[in-house]
């Protein structure tokens, strides 16, 4: 019988009622009395020198409050990068300045040149059209290989080249790696592209800056996954404001997927301009603006080589990747192709020798940063595609080849710097084989063929490192932040509880799932526990939500804080019952003395804490409120196996996803309904990447996919119902809940399954197609079949 409350139950989400009745409070729903509106005049060319900006005509337009250009920000810092990568020679990466408004040059379509603040949004837009900008156009830098060629035009004049860093991980001795390849019985090679994507949360970004002269205090309302990170970066690195004078609020946020982690120019601008204009300043991105200003994702070009012995054991893996950084280093951009990608190149397999080479490149395109999975989808795609190709070349079953090479003993130290604490890849694959009905595939293929369609089955595995992660380790690797999280458990006199958390919910259902944990620990009803998040004036300093870390890191902090509360409550209960603290037991919200019939209720103890007439004041303080910061000992390692079945229409090349099954090992699960939903959403995005999506620039650096007319988002009729199985559970060994994280898995695990399935379908039709780059549009598939 499934539980109806507490850990493992699926109560209906409490946040849903407001979202279903139009009562949500998203940032664009916030209007501050007297607010003005800002419109950013953005570059319409990819690369140019700014020869002059004439704002005189615009300044006289109706409603204009003030016009800003790069010159207004000369005394202000630029947007910082939060991770310093050290290259293969021990040198720091090249790190160009990233001004709030362009200074000297524009470096991508969408780079903001000027900002018009006016009484209305329409007036701001009208005035922006009257600004005259004199641009000397320079050659666009779009292709990464060309950007690295000798004599290539430089995007940043002060850097030595367009190379951000040249990085290596794993076996650094080239001769050792080459020897492994020389001794191999077989080498499979694949060159592939992991195309650029746009995260596209349905809510565009918004920022509202407010300044109060009387108290010299700022408030920034913003669409962020991590309000404290924004406050720290903006105060310490950009505007030079004291943190205690700045409040950052991220209210209901309409999806993030990584792209709302980063500190953006518009946030700093609205905060700065609120004081400069002495008025609140609001900015709401249009979707078109989002396409040219939200950090984009992926964009890797890779050559991967897999060496095997005569028995098909993997003996070595070598990759060479070009990673596009775009024009500037977004907040965590530099860590994505390195520590979030290279470290995952062992996958689920015991390959003894691995070398990962990454060159990160500046181009005149929108900056690239973490997007759902961030580096791990790129790693998984390479590994799982090359294994599939290898299985075909060797004539072995792709599942059998994977199983043969699985890591089976834990903890396992990979050759690429991670220690997997636990997992059961064979067990998870067993679940997949059942969930996907692999045994029934042959019959389904025969049926499809009868209807003139090609049917393919694609399998892959994935592993990800989540819950990032130990501050001391990430610090050594270049992170300029700690990666703990924090929670405050505030028990009220009447026994209800507010839990202030550093994690931020923008769709993940924390307001429902987190109380399940606290309520179960104390034995009270979930309705007595409320989660507070998204406001730096209310919550402890936490690092926010990304990398599937909320429950594993912040949830652990919440458990630790709740334990402290329970320990103190037991002392109070012991005092009330004149018993020894060691004899106090807490069950179902009742404190009792072991072996007696004495008991006091949770509410009696909490009331005593705040009305301490009969209280051990000499031993403990009144009140019942505890905070814990939790810094994990390791990453967590969710892993899984996915299966996709497609039909390909040989006449048109159109791919239809017929079945999709996912078996994930997320360790313990707090709310199965929410976890399933996270996986569904990830698979939807992964299918989007595999079949539909692609951010495209032409050779002049023009963004061709700048709206939903051009960028193909997955729609309801592009996807099937998914089958998901989460019964394979190896709990995380180092956090108190034994949880691993589930937010990114679907997006990591699904693209290779889809592509493997399409290749399988084409091969079944006698087409010798071994790879097609995503998205697998009908045109590309048809061309591959008929090429």
């Amino acid at each position: 019988m499934p539980k109806d409350s507490g850990i493992g139950a699926s109560p209906k989400r409490r946040e849903d009622v407001r979202f279903l009745t139009g009562a949500g409070n998203y940032t664009d729903d916030i209007n501050v009395a007297g607010q003005a509106y800002v419109h950013f005049l953005r570059s319409d060319v990819a690369h140019a020198r700014i020869k002059g900006i004439d704002t005189s005509a615009a300044a006289g337009m109706p409603g204009v409050v003030k016009i800003f250009t790069g010159a207004d920000f000369e005394g202000v810092g630029g947007l910082p990068c939060g991770w310093q990568v050290t290259d293969r020679h021990g040198e720091p990466m090249q790190e160009p300045p990233h001004p709030i408004l362009a200074q000297g040059k524009v470096r991508h379509v969408g780079d903001p040149i000027a900002a018009v603040v006016a009484d209305t949004y329409e007036q701001a837009r009208d005035a922006a059209e009257a600004i005259e900008v004199d641009l000397e156009e320079l050659p666009a830098i779009v292709d990464m290989k060309a950007a690295l060629a000798d004599g290539a035009p430089k995007l940043h004049d002060d850097l030595t080249s367009n190379l951000c860093y040249d990085w290596v991980l794993g076996e650094t001795d080239d001769a050792v790696v080459q020897k492994a390849f020389d001794e191999a019985d077989h080498v499979t090679t694949l060159e592939l592209t992991n195309q650029r994507l746009v995260a596209n949360p349905m809510e565009p970004r918004v920022a509202v800056g407010e300044y109060k002269r009387g108290t010299d205090e700022y408030t920034l309302y913003t669409t962020s996954q991590n309000p404290h990170v924004i406050r720290l970066l903006m105060c310490a690195f950009v505007l030079g404001l004291p943190e205690h004078k700045v409040r950052v609020v991220a209210p209901d946020v309409g999806g993030g997927f990584g792209t709302k982690i980063f500190h953006y120019a518009e946030e700093a601008f609205c905060t700065f301009a609120a004081k400069a204009c002495n008025r609140p300043v609001k900015w709401t991105a249009s979707r078109t603006e989002a396409f040219m200003s939200d950090a984009q994702g992926r964009d890797h070009v890779t050559k991967i080589e897999l060496a095997m012995d005569k028995d098909n054991n993997f003996t070595a893996l070598r990759t060479n990747t070009l990673a596009n950084m775009g024009a500037y280093l977004s907040t965590f951009s530099s860590s994505v192709p390195t520590w979030l990608h290279g470290t995952l190149m062992a996958g689920n397999y015991k390959t003894p020798c691995i070398q990962v080479n990454v060159k990160a490149v500046f181009t005149s395109t929108v900056p690239v940063d973490a997007y759902r999975g961030a580096g791990r989808p790129e790693a998984t795609f390479q590994i799982e595609r090359v294994i599939d190709k290898a299985a075909r070349e060797r004539g072995v079953d792709p599942i059998k080849l994977r199983r043969q090479n699985f890591i089976t003993e834990f903890p396992y130290d990979t050759p690429v710097a991670l220690t997997y604490d636990t997992g059961d890849y064979n067990g998870t694959m067993d679940k997949l084989e059942a969930a996907a009905d692999i045994a029934g595939f042959a019959a389904r293929r025969a049926e499809s063929e009868k209807n003139g369609k090609l049917r393919g089955l694609g399998i892959n595995c994935y592993i990800e490192a989540c819950g990032i992660a130990p501050s001391n380790i990430v610090g050594m690797l270049g992170a300029r932040a700690g990666l703990y999280d924090a929670a405050t458990v505030r028990v009220n006199a009447t026994g209800s509880i507010s839990v202030m958390v550093g994690a931020h919910s923008h769709g993940q259902g924390h307001e429902t799932a987190f109380p399940q944990v606290v309520a179960e620990m104390i034995g009270i009803d979930e309705s007595q526990v409320e989660i507070v998040h998204g406001d730096t004036s209310k919550i402890p300093f936490g690092m926010g939500t990304y990398g599937s870390r909320s429950l594993a890191v912040c949830g652990s902090a919440m458990v630790r804080a709740t334990e402290k509360v329970i320990n103190k409550a037991k002392k109070i209960a012991a005092h009330l019952m004149e018993a020894s603290e060691a004899d106090i037991e807490l069950k179902d919200g009742m404190f009792s003395v072991a072996g007696t019939d004495k008991s006091v209720a949770w509410g009696d103890v909490t009331l005593t804490a705040y009305v301490p007439h009969n209280f051990p004041l000499e031993e403990i303080e009144p009140g019942l409120e505890e905070t814990a910061f939790y810094d994990p000992a390791n990453f967590t390692y969710p892993a899984g196996a996915y299966a996709c079945e497609v039909e390909v229409d040989p006449e048109t090349g159109k791919v239809t996803i017929e079945r999709f099954a996912a078996a994930d090992d997320f360790g313990n699960i707090i709310n199965p309904m929410i976890v399933d939903g996270q996986v569904h959403g990830g698979i939807g995005q992964g299918i989007g990447q595999a079949l539909l999506e692609g951010c495209v620039y032409d050779e002049n650096g023009q963004l061709l996919s700048g709206s939903y007319m051009d960028y193909a988002m997955p729609r309801a009729d592009d996807v099937p119902f998914y089958t998901v199985d989460h019964s394979s559970q190896t709990p995380c060994t180092h956090n108190p809940l034994g949880v691993k994280g589930c937010g990114e898995a679907g997006a990591i695990g699904s693209p290779p399954a889809v592509v493997n399935a399409v290749i399988d379908a084409l091969q079944s039709g006698g087409k010798n197609v071994t790879h097609i780059d995503m998205p697998l549009s009908p045109g590309r598939v048809w061309a591959a079949m008929n090429g």
């Binding site: 849903d16 009622v17 009745t21 998203y26 309409g254 939903g677 939903y708 309801a716 998901v724």
Partner: protein
């Protein structure tokens, strides 16, 4: 500026708007009814769907002036008279048909229009009808399931999870 008048969720409203003011902007900025969301500028995403004289309309595609004299229904007016969720809203909650909630108002309004037109749609009909409503969170699984459930169909057998 022209004045427009329309009945929104049963209440008479009026306001002075510019000719270029969109219906979505009238609802959000003039009436303060922020349940209707704007997720794009090309009429693709469907977060702004409302009903105008009973028809589902993308309110970012229509000028406020075009709705002069019309009856407009929005997400704010969908709950039952006692404030409880209506059948479609309840099905979305029961089946986890929303995550971040941003596309949800448009999804609920589109679902209502679909079920009015076609009270027992098939899965494919639901998917086809939602062609103009984007969701980035759910992979559509639980939205489709919720709409089928709201139509009174048994969804117990749909994809085990």
């Amino acid at each position: 500026m022209p004045q427009v008048s329309m009945t929104v969720n049963g209440k008479a409203t009026s306001g002075d708007v510019e000719g270029r003011t969109l219906l979505s902007a009238y609802l959000r900025d003039h009436l303060g009814m922020t349940g209707t969301h704007v997720g794009c500028d090309t009429s693709q995403c469907g977060a702004c769907v409302v009903h105008v004289n009973g028809e589902a309309v993308k309110s970012c595609t229509m000028f406020a002036a075009e709705a002069d004299g019309a009856t407009v229904d929005t997400i704010e007016g969908q709950a039952n008279a006692d404030g409880s969720l209506n059948v479609i809203q309840q099905a979305f909650q029961d089946h986890h048909g929303l995550q971040c909630g941003f596309c949800t108002p448009g999804m609920v309004m589109s679902a209502a229009a679909l079920l009015k037109e076609n009270p027992k749609p098939t899965e494919q009909e639901v998917r086809d009808y939602l062609e103009g409503n984007l969701c980035r969170c759910t992979g559509y699984h639980n939205i489709v399931k919720a709409i089928l459930a709201a139509s009174g169909q048994d969804v117990g057998a749909i994809a085990a999870e």
